[in-house]
Amino acid sequence: MDGSARVAAWTEADLGVDGNVLEVVRAPAPVLATVGDAVDPVAPETVQLAADLVATMRVSPGCVGLAAQQVGVAAQVFCVDVTEHAKARTTHGTFVLCNAEVVTASRNDKAREGCMSVPDFTGDVKRGSRLVVRGQLPGTGEGVAFATDAFEARALQHEIDHCQGLLFLDRVAGTHAIYPRQTYL
């Protein structure tokens, strides 16, 4: 099975543990500016963290991705699910990646981003709309590499940035590219 099919076939049931809903950390919490440690994808604490991230994403309205930093853990783990999003084209359902990195990113596209950890602002950020990423699946530790595009590509880059201690604020296009907002969704 190629990486794309393997990621698409993955579900949180593969983890074999129930996730706990955790509190989402907001800036300026220092953990959000901390580079995450690489993790052992088969370690029980990583598996539990993966399940917790999915559970927390599920109960958060509008949330299409959540990184470990956002629940207070400086680790390179995040979940994504853009299935229901109108701007999504290629989708892989719900998945969690450990130690993920961007292999290639091309066709830069600028769009407005928000973040549960930065509820008072949105900002225009330029990111690749054609993306190849690689990482490891929690639980089995399988290495996967796959291509995606459009909104899923943006979500992946946003979450990988979190794992590197970066917020979308660190990538806004300029002084007139940030916007206040009163409520998160």
């Binding site: 008072d120 602002f121 296009a173």
Partner: protein, 174 residues
Amino acid sequence: MSTDLHAVTVLGHDRPGIIAETTAALAGLGLNIEDSTMTLLRGHFAMMLLCRGAAERDAVEAALAPLTAGGDLDVAVRPVTDRPEHAAPGSSWVLTVHGGDRAGIVSTVVGAVASYGGNITDLTTRLAGDLYLLVAELDLPADGDATAVEAAIKAAAEQVGVTATLRPAEADEL
């Protein structure tokens, strides 16, 4: 058209119509608005504009005087001269700073920029809850060492407990 250039600032409590009244008064004097910027800072109206025309400063002030009648707006008019063109530009960068609010973040970080001859061309700061955010656009001299500037900015940011990111300003040439 005259080369007289006036800098007008309007500051105070926001209400509908301030821009309309200001620009109508200036237009009535035959002044041409060349550059302007306006924003709300925590609900306070703040506008600066440069306008050119033959009117005397006293006439501009008199035309704008009705704006101040309510006592909640301040208007200032001052003559300015056309500045000489900048020397050949170096490189353009975007600086983001964010972290817990405290006094001295802006002065400390932009001080590092200035110490390397960097010139800030646009600056926005925002406070939301405990989160203080600064985004600036800046030019570095052609012979500037961007790596050294970035290191100085990050050191300054660390000094006041915030995070700083310096990235090249991107422009799409079409």
